[in-house]
Symmetry: C2
């Protein structure tokens, strides 16, 4: 491929012959440029365009250059790397490359480093807790009954994710109350980390219909029976969660409640989670 | 490139002529395979190896196939995609591709979706708070004094990240006390989300030495002066944080404290964060 690059000097030095509109470049608010490739093109042409544009951006004092390559344009990845780009992040359908034009170390934002998970503590008025057995993953075939759990999607509020996962796995409708605790763990998949939020939800319905694909069984189980499982007793993390759930139900435990809050830099509302009970001065 | 692939039938049908050791494939515990490419090779050879191996893995009933391509082997990305792989995630120095061998939807783990940030509330015995002015990013040139903030690295405990960031930005040594609140926000960069933890730290030293590269100025500022800044007053998020900090200092506010906890599936200790004050029954 480098041979073919070297054999296309026409593009390299005669900026006038290149149609820069082929690459849709938009300025960002950090002094950089975002290019999203939407047209199929030959990798030699792409390399020439990119080289000429980078020279121009350097002249203009631009900083970070982002190049979003949809997976159907995978033929352009090698050329982008050869022009000095590296990987920033990737999703199933695209790869984001970056390069940094100024001298010195870059100040580009770090890639996403964590996956966010939730576990839902849902207890009914009979002190029964909503539990499932999974038929995929680590708990498959173990016979362990566990709280419904799941992964928070990109762009999804964790309080919404908890309600969604319970609904998906058991068909139970719930209302989110608060985050009781969270745990951070590392190297969950490859080098990535994970934060798992233990959440309290209030059931709004009672009839269980289990999900077919990932759930082996789902039921309401007396809390004491859940807590007595050897697996739960054996592992500090689960035992500690049981203590927290009991302190919530039978004691005065305060977790963090979601409060919609406007943000400094956009019109969007974001949830802030904090101890509203203590903040409102209800404690002794 | 597809032309050259089609012109190498030798590799395609005669498994015996392929040296599979060229690709270092290791079984994972989910019934899948992880391939880390460490040798430079021609993309046509790589495509042939991969095609033959995928056929073999299909026969063996394997599930997910992970292919880690260091950036120096960028010439192999296109071939992997043509053999049916897609992107899972990327870091500056490598791209992780996956393919799913069984019929039906895949159960591969989701990519990291969130960046984790921390802000450090550090107050000394004179009710002065540690604040900085940044010379990069959104606050550059605004004159706003803010708490030290930073991004939690992959694999780093957030309580350690808070101590590290304060040290890096101001040279102040601190001890982590607790998480006071957190906020989730979305589309922070491209489609990725962010969780920001407001943390209470106790200062262990007092002499400030500001970081050269990212910090314009750093000082101890009377808390009331910090809180009175128009920027802080104007934005709900900052105002709410001020209220929480005051409730902590002058009231009975309980946040979440880190407690090392053993995990179910490994020997590692992870921090679990919860309201230890309430759990220990100190409340009314």
């Amino acid at each position: 491929m480098s041979a073919s690059l070297n054999s296309t000097p026409t593009y390299e030095n005669e900026e006038g012959t290149l149609d820069f509109k082929l690459l849709n470049a938009v300025n960002d608010r950090y002094g950089g440029v975002v290019v999203e490739v939407t047209l199929a093109m030959d990798s030699a042409l792409f390399a020439s365009l990119l080289r000429a544009l980078i020279a121009r951006w350097q002249h203009q004092g631009k900083r970070g250059v982002w190049i979003k390559l949809p997976i159907q344009h995978v033929n352009l990845v090698e050329a982008a790397v050869k022009e000095g780009c590296w990987y920033h992040h990737a999703e199933p359908n695209y790869l984001m490359l970056v390069c940094w034009i100024p001298q010195g170390p870059h100040t580009l934002p770090a890639n996403a480093s964590h996956r966010i998970g939730i576990g839902a503590f849902v207890m009914n008025e009979n002190r029964e807790v909503l539990v499932v057995q999974e038929n995929i993953g680590r708990f498959r075939g173990t016979g362990v009954w566990k709280f419904p759990t799941g992964v928070v999607n990109e762009g999804e509020d964790l309080c919404a994710a908890a309600v969604r996962e319970v609904k998906e796995e058991t068909a139970i409708d719930t209302r989110f109350i608060e985050v009781l605790a969270f745990r951070q763990s590392h190297k969950v998949f490859f080098e990535k980390s994970d934060i798992f939020f233990l959440c309290l939800l209030e059931p709004l319905s009672s009839e269980i219909q289990k999900q077919e694909s990932e759930i082996e069984a789902a039921k309401w189980m007396p809390f004491e029976e859940y807590a007595a499982q050897p697996f739960v007793q054996k592992h500090e993390l689960f035992k500690c969660s049981v203590d927290i759930c009991l302190a919530k139900k039978d004691g005065n435990y305060s977790g963090f409640s979601p409060v919609p809050t406007s943000t400094a830099f956009s019109d969007e509302m974001n949830y802030m989670y904090f101890n509203t009970h203590d903040l409102n001065g209800h404690h002794s």
